[in-house]
């Protein structure tokens, strides 16, 4: 006599048939079915492809199909199951949901690899420490900004102080100072910089002469182009252009070198040896640039005047000799000295910015990049500010 199957079995058989029909057509996608085993118990069988490249069913969808009144679920997998980490992520979420629903889940039917990886991931040895983003009001941020400015000022003052003490020690012969480094940097920021300084200064001379010629020709005073170029090169452009070139070339290099040393803990290694990084690393760089920038400035002045003479000779038919005599007449020694003094000051601020930013760099690749950027920006800003101040002082 046929025994009538219980109601729960009938419903699940239908579901089972439906899902197997449904999924037989799509073999490469993730499929699953619920197989009832006993009242309140069921098996979730996974098959097909549970990989990142296949479409994975939504959790809600599966929970929607979950047989009612279930308190024990066994998850099994067909032998042909194809899986990668996507299955694990899915199961991880699935188990979280089941835990919330207080549904007991048995994972022993899954491949061993899946089981052990799931255990490993859910062992959760570390405490979730994710940083909270502290929301601050505008006033608080403003206050913090002001405090930061003070802290920054203190840093700058300390760095300046360290440089001064290191200098004093150096002159008393008590500082570690590598003369090899010093000569290397002399060459690096002197002779090696000549090509770029030549190019820029000649072009600046040409531009000045060209702009001046257009105006002066109106008055028939072409010869004064020589004065214009000579004065502006000597007073401003020679020092300024060589300063800006060296800020981009050498200041940035200093910041990058010292920043990378900071990342590699080389600076710490010096400190623990009792060697001040300021006297050992900063002073050679600084002194080299301070020695070389005035020389570069004189060189830039000369080449700028030469550049101007190109225009004077070729475009305005001023004889070369006359051009130079006129240039010489237009200049006083004191004006040349002004430019040299300025470039010395620029040497200080460029190497100061580069070394300061490098030594205060963070310990990552991006931090070194930021330090380099700030070094150049700081150097150029300081160049312009100090120029303005000196112009006022010299005109008194």
């Amino acid at each position: 006599m046929p025994v009538e199957s219980p109601a729960w079995l009938q419903r699940d058989v239908v579901c089972h048939l439906w899902s197997s029909l449904h999924f037989r057509t799509v073999t490469s996608s993730a499929s699953y079915r619920f197989i009832p085993t006993a009242p309140g118990r069921s098996t979730l069988q996974l098959s097909g492809c549970w990989k990142a490249s296949c479409s994975i069913p939504e959790l809600d969808e599966i929970f929607g199909r979950l047989p009612a009144h279930l308190d024990h679920l066994k998850i099994t997998a067909e032998d042909s199951l194809n899986w990668d980490s996507i299955l694990l992520v899915f199961l991880s979420h699935f188990l979280d949901h089941c835990r919330k629903k207080q549904l007991a889940v048995d994972l022993t039917g899954l491949p061993e690899g899946v089981q052990s990886l799931l255990t490993l991931a859910r062992k959760s040895t570390s405490r979730p420490l994710n940083k909270e983003k502290v929301q601050t009001g505008m006033i608080a941020r403003l206050g913090q900004g002001v405090l930061d400015i003070f802290a920054r000022g203190r840093d700058l003052a300390r760095f300046t102080g360290e440089i001064v003490t290191a200098l004093v020690l150096l002159f008393r012969g008590k500082a570690y100072f590598r003369f090899r480094d010093f000569f290397y940097f002399l060459q690096n920021c002197g002779a090696d910089a000549l090509p770029i300084v030549s190019l820029i200064s000649i072009l600046v001379g040409v531009i000045l002469a060209f702009v001046g010629a257009v105006q002066l020709r109106i008055f028939g005073a072409q010869i004064y182009v020589a004065n214009l170029v000579a004065l502006s090169m000597v007073l401003e452009m020679g020092a300024m252009m060589s300063g800006i070139i060296m800020a981009g070339r050498t200041g940035a290099a200093y910041a990058a070198q010292l920043g990378t040393m900071q990342v590699n803990e080389e600076i710490d290694a010096l400190r623990t040896l009792g060697i001040s990084p300021v006297s050992y690393l900063v002073l050679p760089r600084m002194l080299a640039l301070i020695c070389m920038l005035p020389l570069l400035c004189i060189y830039a002045d000369l080449l700028g005047i030469a550049g101007g003479s190109l225009i004077g000779v070729w475009m305005m038919d001023i004889p070369l000799y006359e051009y130079f005599v006129q240039s010489k007449k237009g200049l006083h020694m004191w004006q040349i000295n002004q430019g040299i003094i300025k470039s010395t000051v620029y040497g200080v601020v460029i190497s100061f910015s580069g070394c300061y930013q490098g030594l205060h760099s963070g310990r990552s690749a991006s931090a070194v990049g930021e330090a380099t950027t700030s070094a150049v920006v700081m150097a150029i800003v300081l160049i312009v500010i100090s120029d303005a101040i000196m112009v006022v002082i010299f005109s008194l």
Binding site: S85, I86, A121, S126
Partner: protein, 254 residues
């Protein structure tokens, strides 16, 4: 899908310009092996690894992934092989300007077309596999050395690789942490079904997880022994290998 195991190296010569580092290197890695590349400092272990992962072309010889000559293939084919490999660099080599989550996500973004939320979940999962759940928003510089190693491991396994390369995974870690790392490597090898190729000179790791190995020597400029490290320690007659495997005491392990 082409199976890329086993990896075999045939008559490899490694050199920096005229300076020959190692020659006549030949060995085969079987599927599921934890293959150890060992030898004293400066013998070219890391250089061998760089040859295997496509960072340095060999001067002579072949590196075969299955029946596939790695260095004869074009760049695209090589990339396909590397896509199935995970590499853990000696110092972690996490990108310092990116958070852990971004570090682990990059291989996934590069080689899969998954939606960002799925990538995020996978990343979280990989980080929890190495015990770093909750640290996804941290930058590498904010972590300890061991955590950085584990994060780098999470990045190496991001794509469920079939081949895992490790360059001195336990360098700079304390004994307990490095044992945990060994266990983790073993666990991942078993569960992912991956093959591990590992450069190391940690004897503990060599004995506890190595199933096959090659011993390189700087003086001889070639390999001195191949085989399971435990058997190697028992059977080798070469004094250099004995010295290395017994930490200079000459007492063979039981």
């Amino acid at each position: 899908m082409r199976a890329i195991q086993p990896l075999s190296v045939i008559d490899l010569t490694m050199a920096y310009d005229d300076f020959i580092l190692q020659q006549n290197i030949s060995f085969t890695v079987e599927r599921g092996d934890i293959f150890i590349i060992m030898g004293g400092s400066g013998c070219g272990k890391s250089t061998l690894l760089r040859h295997l992962i496509g960072l340095k072309p060999p001067q002579k010889g072949k590196i075969m992934y299955a029946d596939f000559d790695f260095w004869q293939a074009d760049a695209a084919e090589r990339e396909k092989i590397l896509q199935r490999s995970g590499i853990l660099y000696q110092s972690g080599a996490l990108w310092s300007s990116m958070t852990l989550a971004e570090n682990v996500a990059l291989p996934l973004q590069r080689y899969t077309v998954l939606h960002p939320p799925v990538v995020r979940e996978l990343v979280e999962f990989k980080l929890s596999l190495v015990g770093l759940n909750g640290f996804s928003e941290y930058y590498p510089s904010e972590l300890s050395g061991g955590m950085r190693k584990r994060a780098a491991l999470a990045r190496a396994i991001a794509l469920d690789p079939e081949l895992l390369f490790f360059d001195e995974p336990s360098a700079g870690l304390d004994p307990v942490t490095s044992r945990h790392l060994d266990e983790l490597i073993l666990e991942l090898r078993d569960s992912l079904g991956a093959t591990v190729i590992m450069v190391t000179h940690e004897l503990d790791s060599i004995y506890s997880i190595g199933t096959n190995s090659v011993f390189l020597d700087r003086e001889a400029k070639t390999m001195l022994a191949v085989g399971n490290p435990k058997t190697m320690a028992q059977e080798t007659e070469n004094p250099v290998v004995i010295d290395f495997l017994t930490r200079g005491t000459g007492k063979r392990p039981r």
